[in-house]
Amino acid sequence: MNVIFSVLFFGASVLFLARNADAYLPALLTGAQKAASVSLSLLASYCIWLGFFRVMEQSGLSEKLARTAEPLCRRLFRTDDREAVKLAAGNLSANLLGLPGAPTPLGIRATERFCAAGNGYGAAMLFVLNATSLQLLPSTVLALRAAAGSSSPADILPATLLSTLLSTLLGMIGVRLFCKRR
């Protein structure tokens, strides 16, 4: 990340210097402003979902979910940590359902737990599953296509589903091949 950041930051800054240096500070500020406004909307959705998950936790439902998902998660993330399995299973199911904003808080905590236990493999697997899109129903795409006047917005679903399955599969194979196991 440090390398990517340095290279892109340098390249972009040099281009600004050569073309229009006046636009440099406004561009930086726009970025920071976006971070501020995105954070506010993240805060709003975390409030809803963290409340939701706390209720799920207290009612014993996440324990049940974790128990069902445990054999799978144990193999997938190579962990015996019940708490981490609970978080990861919640993250994956929220992803599959496409609940907007819901997977993130669980994913952050699961990654923390994996890494604290020295299980970089589990964290990498969870990250790749999230970063290759697990969503079964791409609601944004369908809405945008309908808005743009498509005759049948849903006809890209088979291709999207197949290619998102493929990306997830390729990602899992990649992690198995290239990330160190414990």
């Binding site: 290759t132 493929l166 290239f178």
Partner: protein, 169 residues
């Protein structure tokens, strides 16, 4: 099936179940919300870094240069070169690539081949850099490179196959 029913049903089912298990709903829900502000605060610096970078990247014209350089590579993988900005934007920013997708759909038509490929590409990939910044925010040490590279490669290959599928299905 109407998917907008999913959310209210989900909440009703959970809260009904919780009540049956004698959970004090108000106390419990608010206790969960307590965690929201610290979580956002801990993620904020990394979010800020990524979003400033992506702003510089697009506004400096560096993205346009990359786009031109990437066109032959995309053609080799059967992805229409008009989609180059989307391919580059998606790993950084969700809102940015949503805006690009709606522009592409408006310019080429939702049912055109380019429009369809754009939708498949958008739907099958994720904001890799953004997620890496957020998920690894509270982990000490640097973000490991392997999972990021693996995700980018997997998304790219799947996009290539997805665009081929668009021609068939």
């Amino acid at each position: 099936m109407n998917f907008s029913l999913l959310l209210p049903l989900l909440f009703l089912l959970l809260f009904g179940y919780a009540l049956a298990k004698k959970v004090r709903l108000y106390d419990c829900f608010t206790e969960g919300v307590k965690g929201a502000a610290p979580l956002v605060l801990s993620v904020f610096p990394y979010l800020c870094g990524i979003l400033i970078l992506s702003e510089l990247f697009t506004q400096s014209g560096l993205a346009a240069l990359f786009t031109r350089a990437a066109a032959p590579l995309l053609r080799a993988f059967s992805i229409p070169e008009e989609l180059a900005p989307l391919v580059l934007m998606k790993p950084f920013s969700g809102s940015g690539s949503t805006a690009l997708l709606s522009e592409l759909l408006a310019a080429y038509g939702a049912d055109s081949e380019i429009g369809r490929c754009a939708c498949v590409l958008y739907g099958s990939s994720e904001t890799v850099f953004y997620i890496s910044a957020v998920y690894y925010a509270n982990v000490r040490g640097r973000i490991p490179a392997a999972p990021v590279v693996i995700s980018l490669a997997a998304n790219f290959l799947a996009a290539s196959v997805g665009c081929l599928l668009c021609k068939v299905i």
